[in-house]
Each structure stands twice: as structure tokens, then as C-alpha cells.
């Protein structure tokens, strides 16, 4: 028997043979494999739920005009008659009826027909620009919005996240205590108001930037034309700046606040104890974890970002979906209006899916929660 004194501590039965975890190779191996497949399964599940959202959006788009009082299709056909001065052709009537309802036809049959139209990207014809197909008008506007919103959202998010990380790293220092209230101040302004002020200062008073448009109309419109691309950047600069300026404050704030909590986490202290340089501790330990809620925030905010861009486009007369929506509303161009709304929904869903998928790549824990 071992001598039970404190001096005999090294001989005390504490030294027992190792009980290696590897005695369970099957268990750990199986878990590893499931972990690898977890991400793929996760993507499929998410994809499934997004498909349901798309189905719901299209279905709502189908039912809303049909549940409206009166017969919207009839109203549209009347409008076409007014603009053109002659009765619409049989194929046009069929197309309008398909999109906006036909009280004489079976609703299920109409529903299937409607989906066929959506699949073929056939949304009928514009009433304001008769007889241009809606799809043509909308497809012209879509790239502008994707460019404007895509670039400004990503840039605003990156600027906000980086600045927020640096501010939250040492909360209360001079940079933080000046910038935080200033940022709240600007965050409180409505976006379109900031856009109007920018427009007034830089385009109207100083005349540094064009007042409206998305490109220089005197230059041939082609993606291969350098001068055209240059004009796109020049015309887009101010609306882009407005969107970034409005957008980054929010990201900055959420990032800063999460960061303040994250820097007190043990793994950050541990990274410091490891003797890693400050920059590495800040970005690959603290900020790397703190940005996860910001990615979720991005996924959730994308719908709002698109909505906000609609107003900005209206202010800058930018030839995107927002401007198109505005003109279609004032011109009572129902086919265009409906299609724009449907496409904006699509865009939001797709962007959401992308942000959501990025989250799984950033946080291995998310894929394992099944």
C-alpha cells in the first residue's frame, strides 16, 4: 500500500495507465464522416426552404390580382386600348389574362399557366410602353440595380465590419469615443435625405457629378467599351457613395458591440497568452468570431437594403429597378410593377441564400445543429 503522506505525492496512485480515447475509433470516425457530410446536407436543407419561399412568393403574386375587386385584367386591356387607340390582339389578351386572371377560366388551370409564364420569363407586355414585353424592360433595369446594390452592400459591410472590429477591440479609446456617437448620428438620418443632400452639394452646386442617369448616353453602350465602363463608374459614384455611407454605420455598430463582448472571451486571452501579434489576435481570433452575427445581419437585412436602394435610385434617376418601379407606379403600369416586385423578391431570396451559405462556411457549428 502506498504511504499516504503528502510527501509521497509522486508515488501516490495518481499514476495510472492512460485511458486513451482512441479505444473508440469507430465512434470518432463515424462522427468525423458525419461532420464532413453535414455541410452538404445543410446546404440541401437550406436550398429546400428557399425553394419553398420562392414558391410562396410566386403564388402570392398570382393570387393578389385575382383577389382584387373588379377585374384588373380587364382594366389593363382597357388601358392598352387607350394608349394604342386600337383593340389588343388575341395573343395579347391571352397573355394579360394569364398574368392577371380570367374569371371565366378554372383557377387551377390558370395557376399552372401562370407558372409556365414565369418559367418562360413571359410577363406580358407593358401598358405604358406598349407593346414592349415586360421582360425586356425589366431585364434592362436589373443589371444596374444588381451592380449598384451588390457593390455598395458588400463595400459598406466590409468597411463597417473592419472599423467596428477596430473600435470594439479597445472600447473607450479616442477613436472609439469620437467615432461611435458620430456614427450613430449619421445612422439616424433617412437614406434618401442624405442622397438628396449629396445630390444638391456635389451635382447641383459643385457640378462635380452628373445629376441623373447611369451612364454617358453619348458613348456607345457596350461592355467592351472602356469609356462606357468609365462613365458607368462616374455616374454611379454618387449613388454608390450615398448607399455606402448610409449602410456602413449599421454594420459598424453591430460589429463594434459584438466585438466588445468577444474581446473578453477566454480564447482571445488565450491567443494573447500564446504570444501572437496583436493584429493576428484582433482579426483571426476576436473579429473572426465577432463577425458571425454580422453575417446573419447581412442575410436578414438584404431585403431592406434593396428597398432602400429603390429610393436612392429614384433620387438619382438611376436606370435600375427602383426607378423602374417608381415610373411604373406613377404610370399605372401594372405588368411592370408586378414583375419588378417579383424580381426584387427573387433577388432578396437569392442574396439571402448566399449570405446564409457563407455563414455555414464561417461557423462550423452551424452545420452540426441537426
Amino acid at each position: 500500500m502506498t504511504q499516504p503522506t503528502a510527501t509521497g505525492r509522486r508515488e501516490v496512485a495518481l499514476d495510472e495507465p492512460l485511458r486513451p480515447e482512441s479505444s473508440l475509433p469507430g465512434v470518432t470516425g463515424a462522427r468525423r464522416r458525419r461532420g464532413a457530410g453535414g455541410r452538404g446536407a445543410y446546404f440541401l436543407r437550406r436550398l429546400g426552404s428557399y425553394l419553398i419561399v420562392i414558391w410562396a412568393a410566386v403564388t402570392l403574386n398570382f393570387f393578389i390580382p385575382r383577389f382584387m375587386p373588379g377585374d384588373p385584367a380587364e382594366a389593363i386591356l382597357r388601358k392598352i386600348r387607350q394608349t394604342t387607340g386600337e383593340p389588343p390582339s388575341a395573343s395579347q389578351i391571352a397573355s394579360v389574362r394569364r398574368m392577371y386572371g380570367n374569371p371565366t377560366e378554372n383557377i387551377l388551370h390558370q395557376y399552372v399557366d401562370y407558372w409556365v409564364g414565369v418559367a418562360k420569363f413571359d410577363f406580358g407586355v407593358s401598358t405604358a410602353h406598349y407593346p414592349t414585353p415586360v421582360s425586356e424592360i425589366v431585364l434592362q433595369a436589373l443589371p444596374w440595380t444588381l451592380f449598384l446594390i451588390g457593390v455598395s452592400t458588400v463595400v459598406a459591410w466590409i468597411i463597417g465590419t473592419i472599423l467596428g472590429a477596430v473600435m470594439g477591440w479597445k472600447p473607450g479609446n479616442r477613436f472609439d469615443s469620437w467615432f461611435a456617437p458620430l456614427s450613430t448620428f449619421f445612422h439616424a438620418f433617412p437614406g434618401f435625405w442624405i442622397a438628396l443632400v449629396l445630390l444638391w452639394i456635389f451635382s447641383i452646386t459643385l457640378e462635380w457629378f452628373p445629376v441623373s442617369g447611369g451612364y454617358d448616353t453619348s458613348v456607345p453602350m457596350s461592355l467592351n467599351n472602356f469609356y462606357f465602363l468609365l462613365s458607368v463608374v462616374y455616374y454611379g459614384a454618387l449613388p454608390m457613395f450615398a448607399l455606402i455611407f448610409i449602410g456602413f454605420n449599421g454594420w459598424l455598430f453591430s460589429m463594434r458591440n459584438v466585438m466588445v463582448a468577444t474581446v473578453t472571451e477566454d480564447y482571445v486571452l488565450m491567443a494573447r497568452a500564446k504570444g501572437l501579434p496583436e493584429k493576428k489576435v484582433l482579426f483571426s481570433y476576436a473579429a473572426r468570431n465577432a463577425l458571425l452575427p454580422n453575417v446573419t445581419g447581412l442575410a436578414m437585412a438584404i431585403g431592406g437594403v434593396i428597398g432602400g436602394a429603390v429610393l436612392i435610385e429614384a433620387v438619382f434617376t438611376y436606370p435600375g429597378m427602383g426607378y423602374l418601379l417608381q415610373t411604373s407606379i406613377t404610370g399605372h403600369d401594372f405588368p411592370v410593377m408586378q414583375t419588378v416586385l417579383l424580381l426584387l423578391t427573387f433577388t432578396a431570396i437569392v442574396a439571402n441564400f448566399i449570405a446564409d451559405s457563407i455563414y455555414v462556411l464561417l461557423d462550423p457549428r452551424a452545420a452540426d445543429t441537426n
Binding site: 499516504p4 503522506t5 503528502a6 510527501t7 505525492r9 509522486r10 501516490v12 495518481l14 499514476d15 495510472e16 492512460l18 485511458r19 486513451p20 480515447e21 482512441s22 475509433p25 470518432t28 462522427r31 468525423r32 461532420g35 473578453t264 472571451e265 477566454d266 480564447y267 486571452l269 488565450m270 491567443a271 494573447r272 497568452a273 500564446k274 504570444g275 501572437l276 501579434p277 496583436e278 493576428k280 483571426s284 481570433y285 473572426r288 468570431n289 458571425l292 464561417l362 461557423d363 462550423p364 457549428r365 452540426d368
Partner: protein
């Protein structure tokens, strides 16, 4: 004789004081702590919650975070080349090469000490390559596997994320991680509180084995006095931010020179003895904002005298190897260990 011999002085802590700055003024969490740690030695640090154990260890490694501030004292690190560095005035940048290379830590919360979004291997690789930039990614990963194997974790766990491992495994991987750069000192801040007693035992036996093989010194913090007695060469007892007694574990156990040490001992069951009646310590830990003028333990001390209420005792040498801060050890007083209530050293423990 090289400087790395076991028994050489490794760390000299002199008058180290740490305050927490609050809106109501500074709270002294550690005041005038002094002790010496030798190479290869295991120093146990015990005390109630809030006695300043963790504050002291983070201050030792210069890891304390605002609002904790080191307000005085020295932490002298004796390097292998004979140089002596005071860690207190050093900036974070100047400490980078000492961190992990020489001074490592195993933190209290295994659950939170690993970066949740990085694979375990990557968390070894970054520190290995930081301190040895010539090491290739592949070699570092290989070494990570070796280190994990040291504490009985399968090598292929380098590919795991922390959330894929059990608590005990995470705790042991932290110990492996602490040994990555062959440090001189590993601070262990309650490394086994988060795991059950069986895992606690496995972990402790591995720590002892590794310590014997690799020869690093350990500062071991816990409130579990019986564990410390098993483990440590010397013990330091903290109360209200002060080291009240320090000396060889056996000495402190059998002949405590401070009533608090004795009270703490009597509140734990002995490991290798029939269970005797245990006694709690009456009262509660003092409010650090509002410490009494005299001895901080006096209000809870059964043997407090008038002097204890007015004069704060200093930590002085009371026997060959023991320092204690208690007026009972003043030359004209009888020693603390005497008296009828101190029966354990005679019966219980020798059984």
C-alpha cells in the same frame, strides 16, 4: 551547471499588487504578494473564491485586462541564459517572445479557451510557427499531432473543431497546447474544475507524468486543497488578496501557522484517512472595498486578539521553510498548530 537545472530560481515575485479600478475607487485584489518559484517546482495556490488567485496568476503572466491594473511590484523572470527580466514594465510587444515559449497557461474554462471556429490543429500551428517561423506548416501539424498524443488524444483530432470534442478532451488538448513550445512555466488555473472526478484524476496523472518528463514548473491554482496537497511541492494560501502563508505542502498541512490555513484544511476531507468531522469556516469572505484595519481574517478567526483588529500582520518567516502572516506567530505567542482542536496531524493523517 547550466541555468536550466531543476531547483534554480525561475520566477521571483516581489510585492506584486493588482488593483481593479471601479467607479467607487480602486479595489486591491492582490496586495504585496511575494514568493519565489524554482525550475521544475509545483507551487499550489489555494484560497476561497475572490481571494485573488486568478488575478495573481494573470498578473504573473502580464495578461490582466482592464479594469485590472498592476500597481506595483516586480515579476523577475530568470532566463536560461542567466538574464533577469522584470515583466511588469514590459510592453505587450516586448513580451511576445517570452509568451508560450517560456510562460504558458492552461485556462480555467476549457469550453471557452479554444477558438470555436478554428480546427484544433490550426490553433497549434499558429503558435508553433509564431515562435519558430522556419517550421513548415506540415511539420507544425505533425508536431500538433505529437503533442495531442502526449495527453492521450488521438492524432487525427487535429482536424476536429472544438465543439466536436468532449470537455475532458478539450481540457487535455489545452494542456498539450500549453506544452507546444516547451515552456519553463505553465500556469494552471483550475484546469480540472469543468470535468468530473474521474477525468480530473486522469488529467492530473498526465500532468504529473509530463511535468516529470519535461521538467517545467507549475503554478497550480485551485480551491481544492486536498488535490493541491497531493500535487504540489509548496503551497501558498491566499486570503483577501494577500498571501497569508507559504511553505512546503506537508508543513502547511501538518503544522499550519495561520488559522486560515488550518480552517481551510479542516473544511476538506482527507484523501487517505478515515473521515473525521469537517468544519466550515464561519462568516463570509471580506469585502475587498472595505477591508478591516487589522488582519482581514480577524472577524472570522476564533483566536483573534485585540492586536489583530488594529495591526495588519506582515508575511514573515516563522520557521525554516514557512512564511506566515499572523500575529499568533509573534515570538511571545504560542504557535497556531498547538491546541486540542488540531488532532488531524496526530491521528487522522498518519493512519
Amino acid at each position: 551547471m547550466t541555468r536550466r537545472d531543476v531547483g534554480d530560481v525561475l520566477l521571483e515575485v516581489q510585492d506584486l499588487s493588482v488593483d481593479y479600478l471601479t467607479l467607487n475607487g480602486a479595489v486591491s485584489a492582490v496586495s504585496h504578494a511575494s514568493f519565489t518559484l524554482r525550475r521544475g517546482e509545483i507551487l499550489g495556490l489555494a484560497g476561497e473564491s475572490g481571494s485573488g488567485k486568478s488575478t495573481l496568476t494573470t498578473a504573473l503572466l502580464r495578461l490582466q485586462r482592464s479594469p485590472a491594473v498592476t500597481v506595483g511590484g516586480k515579476v523577475l523572470y530568470h532566463g536560461d541564459d542567466g538574464t533577469v527580466t522584470d515583466l511588469v514594465p514590459r510592453t505587450d510587444k516586448e513580451l511576445l517572445h517570452l509568451r508560450w515559449n517560456k510562460l504558458a497557461i492552461v485556462m480555467q474554462s476549457a469550453m471557452d479557451a479554444l477558438n470555436p471556429v478554428k480546427r484544433l490543429g490550426a490553433q497549434f500551428v499558429d503558435v508553433l510557427r509564431q515562435h519558430d517561423p522556419r517550421m513548415s506548416e506540415k511539420a507544425a501539424l505533425e508536431r500538433a499531432g505529437d503533442l495531442l498524443a502526449l495527453s492521450g488524444i488521438p492524432r487525427d483530432r487535429v482536424d476536429s473543431f472544438p465543439h466536436e470534442m468532449s470537455g475532458g478532451m478539450r481540457q487535455r488538448s489545452l494542456i498539450s497546447l500549453a506544452l507546444a513550445c516547451d515552456p519553463d512555466l505553465v500556469v494552471m488555473d483550475e484546469p480540472t474544475t469543468a470535468v468530473d472526478v474521474v477525468m480530473q484524476r486522469t488529467i492530473m496523472s498526465q500532468v504529473l507524468r509530463l511535468q516529470r518528463e519535461l521538467g517545467f514548473a507549475i503554478v497550480f491554482v485551485t480551491h481544492d486543497l486536498s488535490l493541491l496537497l497531493e500535487l504540489s511541492d509548496r503551497l501558498a494560501i491566499m486570503y483577501a488578496g494577500k498571501v497569508v502563508e507559504i511553505g512546503p505542502s506537508t508543513e502547511l498541512y501538518h503544522h499550519p501557522k495561520h488559522p486560515y490555513t488550518k480552517a481551510l484544511r479542516d473544511s476538506f476531507p482527507p484523501l487517505y484517512a478515515p473521515l473525521v468531522e469537517m468544519r466550515g469556516i464561519p462568516g463570509t469572505a471580506p469585502d475587498l472595498m472595505n477591508l478591516p484595519d487589522g488582519c482581514a481574517f480577524a472577524p472570522r478567526c476564533a483566536r483573534a486578539m485585540d492586536l489583530c483588529l488594529t495591526k495588519r500582520p506582515e508575511l514573515v518567516q516563522v520557521s525554516e521553510k514557512v512564511d506566515a502572516a499572523c500575529h499568533l506567530n509573534d515570538p511571545q505567542k504560542e504557535p497556531v498548530g498547538a491546541g486540542p482542536s488540531d488532532a488531524r496531524s496526530e491521528n487522522g493523517h498518519a493512519a
